[in-house]
């Protein structure tokens, strides 16, 4: 599957099917992130049920604490 993630076309393995898989793939699952799919923000409790399709536009912003 190909997704446009943060403006960049990225090829993803078969195993990535939903938002939760995507965050795991990017090793962001333990971090607090805001995820937007095709301009809709996804609630954290809906990460597993939100399936992704070829060409979806995904924006991911994760929170960090340094400064």
């Amino acid at each position: 599957m190909e997704l446009i993630i943060n403006g960049e076309m990225i090829q993803l393995p078969e195993s990535v099917k939903n938002v939760s898989d995507l965050l795991t793939y990017f090793q962001l699952n333990n971090k607090i992130a805001i995820v937007e799919v095709n301009l809709n923000i996804i609630n954290k409790q809906d990460y597993e049920t939100t399936t992704l399709s070829n060409g979806d536009k995904v924006e991911i912003v994760h929170f960090v604490g340094g400064g």
């Binding site: 943060n6 403006g7 960049e8 333990n30 971090k31 607090i32 805001i34 937007e36 923000i41 954290k44 924006e59 991911i60 912003v61 994760h62 929170f63 960090v64 604490g65 340094g66 400064g67």
Partner: protein, 341 residues
Amino acid sequence: MTERYSRQELFAPIGKEGQKKIAAKHVLIIGAGALGTGNAEAFVRAGVGKITIIDRDYVEWSNLQRQQLYSEEDAKERLPKAIAAKQRLEQVNSDVSIEAIVGDATARELEVIIEESKPHLLIDATDNFETRMVINDISQKYRIPWIYGACVGSYGISYAIIPGKTPCLNCMLEAVPLGGLTCDTAGIISPAVQMVVAYQVTEALKILVEDWQSLRNKLVSFDLWKNQHTAIRVDKVKKADCPSCGDNPTYPYLSYDMQTKTAVLCGRDSVQIRPAVRQDRDLEELAELLAKQGIQVEKNPYLLSFMADGHRLVVFKDGRVLIHGTKDMIEAKTLYHRYLG
């Protein structure tokens, strides 16, 4: 004097009127590390009326790579960051009133500052989520905007939180995140700091000149090394039942129970211990006591430091103690009690 802000006044969205507004404003900067020094210098050069800057730490050599107000001399003297920042800022612009507070930005300390000096804007320049949640609740309670900013490695993130308008940090996070990358594990490059500072100061200037319509209203993040940039509109994340900004706020992070008194410092391999009840320490007396035990003590008017069991202990006048060379809170507490009662 009239020339000083001419280029900023020529910038139409600010103009002479905007400059007058800037000169009448007070900004509270929480933290005097990388983000704090960057923000502070920008505000002071821009001619903000008053700056208050609070920080619990002192200058070390590892700070000089990115904390732009500090010199080698400050690191040699282990000068508290708030003091070193004030000295440099006064050289930059003597018209700005600068208040330096050497202390821990706890809920209580921040509430006292806000009730006494009524700042118009809070700038987040901290290195932890615990303090950010405190700032978030204070911002809601006193209806003062605050600007979140954070960075690690080559990554940075920022968002301006306006009470009654935007979602707050608690809406977005739902809880204080545990773990995650810190300056300890991932390091930090100075352009990531400068980029976050640029986002924070720009939104701040819009707020200071009351140009609310021009606010970005998006959560922005970037990775300068990976060449990525993202901005998300987060209005819909605002929750009506949020305990910080919802319809019946309880400001959970302002309650005493929510506050730790031991904290590991970002990037420092150090633990800070803060007495439950604030009490100034008599540094003279302590220095004498330690000297009697054959311990060599280094001292300036704000703090004293000494080596014990392979660790450096630094005692601040306000009672806080930094224990270097450990991230283990229990070990730190043991050393604390062993040497300081």
